[in-house]
Symmetry: D2
């Protein structure tokens, strides 16, 4: 198979960097263009990442591929998307609102931004969870008159929650969901993100707009396609989203009321078996299993579990009965917010879409 040409938009930002770091020598895709704001345009990628003080602003643990270092950065607002097979965007919502429709006229767009997530004809994909929502892609193309399309990944806090609710909803039915998150600082980015003076020795109890996103996106992702749009899953989701002094990975305490009674063991089984079919498709970025369930009562922990399977695993633990909710179950999860929850999750979506012929 000839490799698909990919443009990475927002290449100098953290999520864009992680896209570049995540999969050198990808068997399906080849990075053919890097784009960012006008300020970086015309510089090499190496230059664009070096600031006035001489500091090199590459934030991934993996070293920067020298081939990318030499590439010229283009102005995102002038990129000719028609020469690309795929555009991967990792920009702020405002920029996404403007740029993504422009690219989508000719080319598929996989996005980490929230700009289009709540549109009727736009699926929000989580690998292995709702890729069948790709039936909306032709609807979107037709409705908007685009040759391409836009498919965002969800908010990083939604990913782990929806991933673990999916097998429970399938097996037992979900009636109510309550979730409290303890989110990592990386979720807020670096401009300026969470400042040290605010977060050290502290918990910040509020992340603007986050709870609404999680509640709405979870229902949409676990919803069913009815006609030409998605009927949200019928159960209410109530979230409290907080920030804690953790660098990477979101931790979530989840309480679920099930339709049908299930024992703790049945719940663990359902979580463990989940995603077997998807994993069997052996996509390059797919972990060997989607969900791990630990019997160690002190797990999952964000620092210890976030990088398992390259940050693509959802780690669950402390599955136990909840006595406040009818058929209640509670558990903890850890999900890597900037890997499975952002760039690398987007790449796995793209791999699926490519194999399905959408890209």
């Amino acid at each position: 198979m000839k490799k698909k040409k990919v443009a990475v938009i927002g290449a100098t930002g953290v999520a864009g960097q992680q896209f570049l770091a995540s999969r050198p020598g990808h068997p399906f895709f080849e990075v053919a263009a890097l784009a960012a704001s006008e300020r970086s345009a015309g510089k090499t990628y190496q230059e664009a990442l070096t600031d006035a003080s001489g500091a090199f602003r590459w934030y991934c643990q993996e070293p920067l591929d020298p081939a990318f270092a030499k590439m010229k950065v283009e102005d995102a607002s002038k990129l000719d998307a028609s020469k690309m097979d795929l555009v991967f965007t990792a920009v702020e919502s405002d920029a996404a609102k403007e740029l993504e429709p422009r690219y989508a006229k000719t080319t598929p767009v996989v996005s980490t931004a929230s700009a289009f997530r709540y549109e009727d004809d736009v699926p929000i994909f989580i690998p292995g969870v709702n890729l069948d929502h790709d039936r909306l892609i032709p609807v979107q193309k037709k409705k908007r008159g685009w040759k391409g399309f836009v498919t965002p990944v969800p908010n990083c806090t939604t990913t782990g929650l929806a991933m673990t609710l999916k097998p429970l909803h399938e097996a037992f039915g979900v009636l109510q969901v309550i979730m409290t998150s303890m989110q990592a600082c990386s979720g807020a980015g670096r401009s300026p993100g969470v400042i040290g003076l605010d977060i050290m020795d502290n918990v910040i109890p509020y992340i603007p707009k986050e709870e609404e996103k999680v509640e709405k996106e979870t229902q949409k992702i676990l919803g069913a396609i009815v006609g030409e749009s998605i009927a949200p899953a019928p159960f209410p989701v109530s979230a409290t989203c907080t920030r804690v002094p953790v660098l990477e990975a979101h931790t979530e305490a989840v309480y679920v009321s099930l339709k049908k009674h299930a024992t703790v063991e049945e719940v663990k089984d359902a979580l463990r078996r989940f995603g077997g079919d998807f994993v069997a498709m052996k996509f390059p970025s797919c972990p060997p299993r989607l969900i791990d369930v630990s019997e160690d009562p002190f797990r999952p922990q964000p620092r210890l579990d976030r990088d398992r399977e390259g940050g693509m695993l959802t780690s669950v633990g402390r599955v136990r009965a909840d006595h406040a909710l009818p058929n209640g179950i509670k558990y903890m999860l850890v999900s890597h917010n900037t890997k499975m929850g952002a760039a690398k999750g987007g790449m796995l979506v793209a791999e699926y879409l490519a194999r399905q012929g959408h890209i």
Copy 2:
């Protein structure tokens, strides 16, 4: 009024130190004895706090009162409690199980330990919340043949939860409670407590026995006296207790289903008005109000709010409707675990018991 003589047991530990630091020149009480384990016995308090390397192990922000520094530390197992009007114990549960009944034969004991919390004839006091449970004191004395009694304060995570549920239960009735805590490291003490390698850049999702304590104690504290014991409050409480990289103060995300619908404003009002009668009694350790409700969406924060009113205030914020539970309300709270939630809370209880003639 002649001052009551108090012995502080576990005086070298963190909670014992905080008792000593909390109220120099107390108008009701005078510290007449300091006691600790055999190892410290016979030393001055200053010597007992100085370790082999020359380090001085006084952990309070307030400087050590020179009068205490010179006192001789007694062996807790040999203390003659009959010479005291009150014994304040701040020791591990195992030691409490042995020592407290011995002291209580002659003398009232206010305790931070869990040893007796779950006994039928033992009230667990939170200031302003359930001091009417003191009707159990004569029951306990009679039943056990003691001249004194034992009244523990609750687990530090219970305090803020029960404090805020009380006005809601009174005003609207509580049907279900779900609570996720983000607890400070000081709750685990120093022997060794939470080690740096475990907690930095991390969340620990499990604190052994903590959830059971919170669930059970909350029901007992908000229960009603029926005959000679307490009928637990009839609503289920489901807790997830986690540890975060915070030094002091527990943060809790609370979801409550109310019997009677209440608006967010009605809930805030109930919380704000709570405890007026108790505060009006003007006890030396009592804050000017028990609960503060903030309109700033970024509050409460443990680092910013823990020391308000000397660590005796329960700070509430983010009161909002919850759509997953019937008549659902959700909010965040911050409560200082080693001040209101331990030694200083115990002192306020003692002040009440003294005025009521129990001490």
Copy 3:
């Protein structure tokens, strides 16, 4: 004495807030004007501190004085300084360069900014250390044709170093100084200051321009007035300035080569006795001693020692011989960078200048 009217410039920033928080009901000074950038002008101080999300951006532990909350914030560029007896500026260096000369035409200015520190006719004051440099004030006024003057406090990292070197230089002579700092995040302010993703679980080995400032300012502060300017102290100072995950207070490891041999005890004595005359002047913001020397080998620690004496004490410990330098002595110090090292130190300077008749 009629109170002097003070304008606080940069009142919404952290240092400006600390000036306001530091001394309610000051016996010499009365806050007559608050000024900030154009953006805040016209709002009450309360409003100016409340951002669009409803968050209240008051960063001091002390509550905001309600009298200040109601004051109208003025535009700093339009303030009529001639109505004031003193202007206290806490703004960025660029703004200081423009505003301070304007105010100084009519009015004394005490500044936390670096803009004028390196001018020949400008003394950099540390309380108790070099207030005799006030002999430069008439020189500065004459030379610049101002009725007022500008006197900055030093960089916050200089303060503790110069404070502890002064008694050593007086008693034994200093030949060489080497200093490595571990600085708190608050030194970088909040716009955005040090971001959480950079500093957690990390040390940042470089603070732009900091080392040069410390080296130059220390020599100037410990220099002698010769004619109409200051001859820098003749010993070289070599600094390495780093940032560590600490909220407040700078920690410094200092190595000094002395001219005259001194024992560890002699050095401790010199440090302990320092500043007696100044302290005896009993200024409202003056701590009861300037330097504390601990015998506990584990002190000073920034978290435990920063707030002693209201953040105005320089805590020294681990004084010991150094065998690499001739007559070498080494020690650690902790100094509160935003209290003695900024706003509160500036206020103590102003108290001195007022009593000397400069204000």
Copy 4:
């Protein structure tokens, strides 16, 4: 080559775990025995790492090799070392003092403990720095009548310092060294190591015995063999060792006075070229270069640089002139204290000793 049989003593501790994690499928060595204290003896390694609460105490990022999980743990005090080709010990100094001579009677011992470091006939090895000190091995054997020998690696804070001083001493001569460390918590281990309440938002200015170790070991490592022992390097070393809230990797600020003047560029060159011959020997655990010198003024940082080249690289930055010392040079370094500075460094030493025929 037939693989050498290795016993790992202290296998359940952090350093022992890292030895096991560091090199699966090692071409020279095969782990033939795991030993620990009596408490663990008889259990499988998996069982020995699982505590009563069900928590699994494996602390490395790399997953535990299932082959090790099944091995039986032996009692270290009963191990028959004569069946082994090499014993790797990672135990406390007191245990080492007793166990290591027993093993060394028959078998070479590479140790992370300090017990024998200061004996005349014992070399302290750093890979690439002073492996020629192996000339002491036959001396030690003869003198003690052992068939084996003991060779410890240095204190983890010494490693980076001696590694970077070596090329400077060779090229320019070293006259004086001053070093301030900012050390990671992992250096203190886990029993209990540094507790969270002490280190968060703090610097601890003292690590018992650390400064003496660093000063003495550096001189010994950089000394020359004279007759049957090592003449310490003639330059004085003065250290201040502190603990900061960092998980892994020590950061050091170093000031060196050189015999011969050298420019900053010459110093960088000497550092960069260092170790070429050793690296060319291509040992399995050897990084592709020993020292990296960064031009980014914000590097090295412990979190960003510690894991480069598998934690075996010493990262240097901020090389600049120092004006306080004659021919002064100053720089910062980061060295991974539990990888190059402990178990993995010990393995690289063992690889060298094996090829030289000592093992």
